[in-house]
């Protein structure tokens, strides 16, 4: 009978909102079903708890997790937040409960299905981050900045910052997540901007850019060993969905 009255928690679909939702569930000791504000479901008002999104509270929650478990386990969670977690809240809640119960032994519980699921998802995200350290392609703009459009599966733009600031410290650059319309710019300091279109509206690709892309294509073509072509192998390393912004492949 209890299930019939299983509570629904509704939040705004943001990460901060979800963290607050998890915090509430833990505090109240409930195992609710989750729902985001724009999902179309029937609501029975008395069983729905509407969660207020509060950035600060979401951070307090993460700090609390760090305290009761360890850096590493919470870092996994932060990577997972870069993936689309809608529909995954239930596993995340169970993970947090595990962290509370087993403290810093959780990561050693490799046989536990929750821990395994968290691991796998985290692996997908970190793998994509590593991939894009290589697959990001900058184009020179007339303004002298270097612009890199890309479309990752996960919202990894922030995770790329340390790598590119270390590597291209003396270059002005822009990472531009096209599907999420987020940009991160670097000019001796990092700026995060959610209005990509506004930021980019006066920028133009430089004249020299075409020539250099052509040189790169020339190089790519001539180092290919044509009698060993193996598109399957190539796509295994470099899935086709990432090809859109690579000047070397058509």
């Amino acid at each position: 009978m209890k299930n019939l009255y299983k509570k629904t928690y509704q939040y705004d679909g943001t990460n901060a909102g979800m963290l607050c939702t998890l915090a509430d569930a833990i505090k109240r000791g409930e195992m609710p079903t989750f729902q985001t504000a724009n999902s179309v479901t029937l609501n029975f008002a008395e069983h729905t708890h509407i969660v207020d999104t509060d950035e600060e509270r979401s951070e307090v929650f993460l700090d609390w997790l760090k305290e009761i478990s360890d850096e590493y386990s919470v870092r996994m969670l932060i990577y997972i937040l870069m993936s689309d977690c809608i529909g995954y809240e239930d596993t995340l809640l169970k993970y947090c409960l595990l962290l509370r119960k087993h403290e810093n032994n959780t990561m050693r519980m490799q046989a536990n299905p929750i821990v395994r699921s968290i691991h796998d998802r985290c692996y997908k995200v970190t793998k994509e981050i590593h991939r894009f350290k290589g697959l990001i392609r900058f184009q020179e703009l007339e303004s002298g900045k270097y612009w890199a459009p890309f479309e990752p599966d996960n919202n990894i733009i922030v995770a790329l910052i340390p790598h590119f600031t270390a590597r291209f410290a003396d270059q002005k650059w822009i990472l531009h997540d096209i599907s999420r319309q987020i940009i991160v710019t670097w000019d001796k300091q990092i700026l995060y901007n959610k209005k990509a279109a506004d930021y980019m509206k006066d920028e133009k690709i430089s004249d020299a850019e075409k020539d250099i892309q052509q040189l790169w294509q020339t190089f790519y073509k001539s180092i290919t060993i044509t009698n060993r072509i193996n598109p399957k192998l190539q796509a295994q390393f470099m899935p086709r969905r990432y090809w859109k912004y690579l000047p070397e492949v058509e």
């Binding site: 290589g134 790598h163 003396d170 270059q171 180092i223």
Partner: protein
């Protein structure tokens, strides 16, 4: 000739070069850095990772090595980059995140010193004028003077000298203009400097570097008649004597017709190359001796089995060993157990007595390992057998050739 045509010719000429590794060095420049884990930026349609701009400075050669496309007597398109051209392409590509850095080698135009000087200048200009912090691997020209090699080492992350062929006889026959003394001379000079510099930097962290990622060499396999035993013995000696980081094996792809070159062999060049890398791996990470991998009685690597399995089958009288008590060194010798696996076993057995289900979870390849190992004194499924039976079970059904490209990566 414009820069695009040059790039076309001079990257095509470099493409069979085996090494593309950019790891093992970490450096922070004004413009760029070197990541110690290595990053692939793209993959060619044949499935190889692109991480470095791999080009020749020139393919104009005064020498006439029989196996080489660039040899003097071949009628091919020739080109030579200027120092500035290479510097520009490298920085333009690097800024756009196409590459981790530059891998520059060259044919010998004018003289070994002239060629080496120009390569050194490329590295120098990149580091000094452009503040370039990306990876630089220079292929040192045999016979170039020590001073130039020394200077090149100050700007490069890695220096290498190709040994080219596995024996002096073959070198004389197929690369008549090169000599062993030059090659080994450069190699030992680089090795010595590398080791001294490493010590130096232990004492003074700010001491200038000399090829911090070490040096490597490459030899061409299958253009000359040496057995695998000769080749692996040579590699083993090179690792010991010259502190080499890697020996690369490059399967000879027939490009020139010449009576001095051998007939096609039973084992295809690519599979042989793959097996040699496996054997090399056993030398470097599994404490095998060249003599164990390839004894006088079996001087060539097996077509069907990886060298460790082949060794275990020849030495079956020493198996099975007990997972719960065998030493780490012996665990490493079990087919299907890798370095990671052996470490995990040693760690796990401190807490529990291991059975086969534990081993499976630890990533041990039971398909091979089950014949060579016991758990708590038992053999899996009471499988008693002979090396002949094991060989039959393990013999690949599909031709090894089909799968080997996938294995290689």
């Amino acid at each position: 000739m414009n820069i695009k045509e040059k790039l076309d010719i001079l990257s095509d000429a470099a493409k069979y070069d085996a090494s593309c590794s950019s790891s093992g060095s970490s450096r922070q420049g004004k413009h760029g850095n070197t990541s110690s884990s290595g990053i692939c930026h793209s993959w060619t349609p044949d499935g190889r990772c692109i991480s470095l701009l791999k080009i020749l400075l020139s393919n104009v050669c005064m020498f006439d090595c029989v196996y080489c496309l660039n040899r003097r007597s071949n009628d091919i398109r020739r080109a030579t980059f200027t120092v500035d051209e290479i510097v520009k392409i490298t920085t333009d590509f690097y800024k756009r995140n196409y590459i981790e850095g530059l891998f520059l080698s060259s044919a010998v135009f004018l003289s070994p010193d002239d060629t080496m000087r120009r390569m050194m200048e490329v590295a120098k200009k990149l580091r000094r004028e452009k503040g370039f912090g990306g990876y630089i691997h220079l292929k040192s020209i045999p016979g170039a003077s020590d001073e130039l090699v020394e200077e090149a080492g100050r700007y490069a992350d890695r220096l290498s000298v190709n040994i080219e062929l596995p024996s002096n006889v073959s070198l004389n026959k197929l690369a008549p203009d090169k000599n062993k003394e030059d090659i080994f001379g450069s190699m030992s000079y680089i090795g010595k400097n590398y080791l001294e510099n490493k010590e130096e930097r232990k004492k003074h962290r700010k001491a200038p570097t000399f090829a911090p990622a070490g040096h490597s060499t490459q030899m061409i396999i299958g253009a000359s008649p040496e057995s695998d035993r000769q080749i692996v013995t040579l590699s083993s000696g090179l690792y010991d004597k010259f502190a080499l980081k890697r020996v690369y094996y490059s399967a000879y792809i027939p490009i020139n017709e010449d009576v001095r070159l051998p007939e096609p062999q039973i084992i295809t060049p690519l599979l042989r190359e793959h097996r040699l890398y496996q054997a090399d791996w056993l030398l470097r990470f599994y404490n095998f001796k060249a003599d164990e991998i390839l004894p006088v009685t079996a001087p060539n690597l097996d077509v069907d089995f990886d060298p460790k399995t082949a060794w275990a089958l020849r030495n079956y009288h020493q198996f099975p060993i007990e997972a719960n008590t065998a030493s780490y060194e012996w665990l490493l010798r079990v087919p299907g157990i890798g370095v990671q696996g052996a470490k995990r076993i040693v760690m796990a057995r401190r807490h529990t007595s291991l059975d086969f289900s534990h081993l499976k979870k630890m990533g041990i390849v039971m398909k091979r390992a089950r014949f060579f190992i016991t758990c708590r004194g038992h053999i899996l499924d009471n499988l008693r057998t002979s090396p002949q039976m094991i060989a039959m079970t393990l013999k690949p059904k599909k031709s090894v050739e089909d799968t080997q490209l996938l294995l290689k990566i």
